[in-house]
Subunit: 458 residues, 2 copies
């Protein structure tokens, strides 16, 4: 085992330049899942992943069509029935790159500057997918894979995986495994290996307010009608109280409270106010009273405005009284909140508070429940050992604020837990301009996953 491990690590170190070239190829494909015009690029990205899986010796490699973007699958079952089977999850789709003018190098022309590779998806999560593929390749090229592996790499994570639930249900047997490896969470810092055991869920909406049936001249009609942009602002302003709590009716009813023991553990994370101030650049932090930042972002639900649009937004002035106004509004959920219930709560809030001077419409865009994983399954233990062997220190365990709905789906449909880790850093600018990945951490990630697969199979 040690011999194979060392050979695989050696292979990974010797092939860094080649890995980087392939990684750049992958990031270059603008596989933006929200963009209807990106269908061809999405297909290209799926085929690219399928080729990687074939090249490293996966069998039954398939690009499964869905009602949306395809799912890539491949498996290796040669380790035998007495070895565990790990289902490696990833996604090849990325967030939109807008606003493009804020990128220092084009989003889809991956560029190395210093120790980082910049490009949309470099960290979230093409880099993470590459890490698992290259770890498997390193082991496959230097011997027989020590565990059974199945890859499931989807193309709709950034739009809430609308077709993944059905795919998992339909392919329950194909996906049968002992547990999943999901590298879609991040690290606290480059020297702080991290395992995530709690994830927030998501409920994402578009709220549309309309008043007049056409844009009006604000001089001639200002004073006659309720300005839809003003109404939108009033409705949004009412969604939080002065203590930073969300006011939707019943929003906190099903929120699992944080135990004293867990609060102590979260307090040990090296993520104090100063850490968040530096990471965000905000003049001051803000959030629900009575909770620390680490608790607020990990274990408490939040409601965020993701976008606003109304009327004239160009340079200069236009005295329009806009006919309509739109907001993108999303909630991060914690156990045991339910996205459907939150949808109902927001609807109720609007029914109670939207004035009769406007019409409103609420569109449901995406959603998934929160999850908490068992920290004692063999996969988590193996990952803990693998990270410790790679970084020379025990990993930290934390809850993370982002949503990985697939973890809940796999728990529900396949009855399996997920080992949650990842090699992105807090300053990777996920979902923002100048997304990047820290290349030394990327290479270390490959070594950590090689060790994980060896320890799991031991």
């Amino acid at each position: 085992m040690t011999e194979h491990l060392n050979a695989a690590l050696e292979y990974a170190r010797a092939n860094r330049a080649g890995f980087l070239q392939e990684f750049i190829e992958f990031v270059r494909i603008p596989s933006v899942s929200t963009a209807p015009e990106a269908k061809a690029d999405i297909q290209r990205a799926a085929q690219w992943v399928a080729n990687q899986l074939r090249n490293l010796g996966m069998k039954n490699v398939s690009v499964f069509p869905t009602a949306g973007h395809p799912v890539v699958f491949g498996e290796y079952l040669g380790a035998g029935a007495d070895k565990p089977t790990v289902l490696i999850y990833g996604h090849y789709d990325v967030q939109p790159a807008e606003p493009l003018e804020l990128w220092h190098s084009p989003a889809f022309e991956p560029t190395v500057r210093g120790e980082n590779l910049y490009g949309r998806g470099a960290s979230d999560m093409k880099g993470q997918v590459m890490i698992t593929i290259k770890a498997a390749e390193a082991l496959a090229r230097t011997g027989e894979l020590p565990v059974n592996i199945k890859f499931i790499i989807e193309g709709e994570e950034e739009v809430g995986s609308p077709n993944l639930d059905e795919f998992i249900r339909t392919h329950r047997d194909l996906l049968a495994c002992d547990y999943a490896l999901n590298t879609d969470t991040g690290m606290i810092g480059a020297e702080v290996p991290t395992i995530t055991y709690g994830l927030r869920g998501l409920a994402y909406f578009e709220l549309r307010i309309s008043g007049p049936d056409h844009d009006l001249h604000s001089g001639i009609f200002g004073g006659a009608v309720h300005n839809p942009a003003q109404v939108l602002c009033e409705l949004i302003a009412g969604m939080h109280d002065a203590q930073g709590r969300v006011t939707l009716p019943g929003f906190y009813d099903r929120v699992r409270s944080i135990s004293a023991e867990e609060r102590q553990e979260l307090a040990r994370l090296p993520m104090d106010d100063e850490f968040y101030r530096q990471q965000t650049g905000a003049p001051a932090l803000f959030g629900e009273a009575d909770y620390t930042v680490a608790e607020r972002v990990g274990a408490r639900p939040t409601l965020e405005i993701n976008g606003l649009l109304s009327g004239f937004t160009g340079e200069g002035s236009k005295t329009v009284l806009p006919a309509k106004a739109m907001a993108k509004i999303s909630m991060r959920l914690v156990p045991d909140q339910d996205p459907e219930e939150v949808h109902h709560q927001l609807t109720q809030y609007l029914e109670r508070h939207a004035p009769p001077t406007v019409r409103w419409e609420l569109l449901k865009m995406a959603g998934g429940p929160a999850s908490i994983s068992d920290r004692h399954i063999p996969g988590v233990v193996a990952m803990s050992q693998a990270l410790e062997a790679t970084w020379g220190k025990r990993p930290l365990f934390r809850r993370e604020g982002g949503s990985v709905p697939v973890v809940g789906q796999m728990q529900k449909i396949l009855g399996i837990e997920s080992v949650l880790t990842g090699f992105g850093l807090p300053d990777d600018n996920l979902h923002a301009p100048n997304e990047k990945i820290h290349l030394p951490t990327f290479y270390r990630g490959i070594e950590a996953i090689i060790r994980f697969l060896v320890f799991v199979g031991a």
Copy 2:
């Protein structure tokens, strides 16, 4: 006099097709004053107006450069010193045409449908400028002009006329006159000739809120910082109270109250709630408690949100916590509010209410004071007679909600009153998609102005 009048009216009727062709030429020039890229079109529009003035026999026709867009001037003083001099004001610039996709025919391809000509600026105010030019032409081609006329046609009205004040100051002698004719206000209906005696002023701002120094992932950072879009909404929501009153400190201190007699007169206007509901298409009207709609849009100040922009506004969902948010905010002012004071009031409001969790910046975009004109000057009397002769009924007198800052500037600098009328209709979609002018009213407007010039010179 009657003979010349009849000949001029005859000329105007015989030349309608030609007038329309020239009008279409004028609207076709996309002289959008807010657009930096439209400089050449602005110049083209100014030269086009200058040529019209030359062709009808105006002397000293000049296109005066300013720090912004040029002012077109031309004069005819041949009526002699015993005749009054009328200064005819207009503007050749137009509002932006966006959103383009809502136009049924392209904004700058003027199109006749039914009784209307559609195109940006058709009503506001290229059509009104054409009416005054063609009225003067009709009189000039059928005899000697019965009054002295000066034209001043500017190119920056839609951006708040930033350079007109200085132009009027510098050319005080050139612009000397008995009173001004300003056709930049509208009619209550096609069968309701209207003279405006009160106009609201304008103070226009852009408010920028910023929090984090870059867009954040709403999962990873939601709960850590104050969302700038939420803060913007909270600040905007606080700008009105539950009675629809503006809450800026001191906002109503200098507002001249409406006399009982004026309230009675305004109540006679055929503009009830049903009229405004039909004009706007809003599900219900809204505004400051204790005032009728006609009072609210004419004689009371308002605060409107003209635009909102933050974060992700495209199709689908993006879980961004935006770094910044922007609103265009403008106030319509009434006598004796001062735009500078209102700027100070808004600044004070923000200083008091903006939380320390964000940074904010307030940009002043445009502004001008409100005005009330004397209803008894000879020019207004002549206009009243001209409208009555043309429509067969006495005109209504009203206050209008829009701003025509030049009226206040001319009052202040030249010491003259303005005769305020115009031939746009409430459903002309000013500043909105599908702007149009009602052609029968356009032709009637030319006849009314012919009569006005004859009555003034009699």
